[in-house]
Point group: C2
Chain length 127, copies 2
DNA sequence: ATAACTGCAAAATATTTGCAACGCG
DNA sequence: CGCGTTGCAAATATTTTGCAGTTAT
């Protein structure tokens, strides 16, 4: 299936790039809707899915709450604060050797690996 | 808050122990409801939450689909097949050093770490 | 006795989908 | 023009919650 360049699609991508954080799909919607209130939430969801399939953004499955959109596409992992639920990027060395261990134990073919660290972030701990 | 020993609570725990897999809350409900159809789904959910808080079982946040219940409580990680969505346990060495890296980068206090491997399991690949 | 627990139904949350109209290429 | 896309509303999926009655301790 081909894709087309539409106004709404550019708005979606621009919003993600501009937000510089890990917004939920709904937050992307809110951001766009502020200037273009007639846009539909469904359109945002559809475009986010399409853009992530195209590799232009990534959609981080969030084990606590709504998925997050990530404008960074290179490999990295995430820390989630159990208090404010904010996601933070973590750059750690490749865990390919662990993936290999997983393959040996399960006989499966591992294609992707995600790590989630949970805890209390600096801001929340300070209060 | 104290907890009480109830018939429904034992049924819930027994079901999880008996199932020996990674059922969703709804599958636990279905299992129990087969013998005791008058039990409520809400009761199962409440009891699963309570039991996991008590450390008797664990509830694995599933980044794809419904959460899974795990009767194993010691530390381990998971592989999820993108085809059949089945969860498999993976025993790999502690990743404390990665958690430490995360703490250094974020300034946060890491309390738990989860790894999800994704890919195609042996069964699905065989077809 | 009293606070925890239950079943039920409704709410909450997050996301997807059917449909008819619209518009990019 | 044809098919991808849009907005809307409704559907789906999973889990939680309010309430009034029940029960373990």
């Amino acid at each position: 299936m081909q894709t087309r360049q539409t106004f709404q699609k550019s708005l979606t991508l621009d919003a993600v790039k501009a937000m510089q954080c890990h917004p939920t799909a709904d937050q992307v919607y809110a951001y766009v809707a502020e200037k273009y209130p007639e846009i539909s939430r469904a359109t945002i969801y559809r475009n986010l899915n399409q853009l992530s399939e195209a590799g232009e953004i990534s959609r981080v499955k969030n084990p606590c709450g709504a998925d997050r959109i990530d404008h960074i596409t290179h490999k990295h992992y995430h820390f989630i604060c159990s208090c404010c639920h904010q996601l933070t990027n973590v750059d750690i060395p490749d865990i390919g050797h662990l993936a290999k261990l997983c393959e040996e134990q399960t006989g499966a073919k591992v294609e992707e690996s995600q790590i989630f660290f949970g805890g209390i972030c600096k801001n929340c701990a300070g209060r």
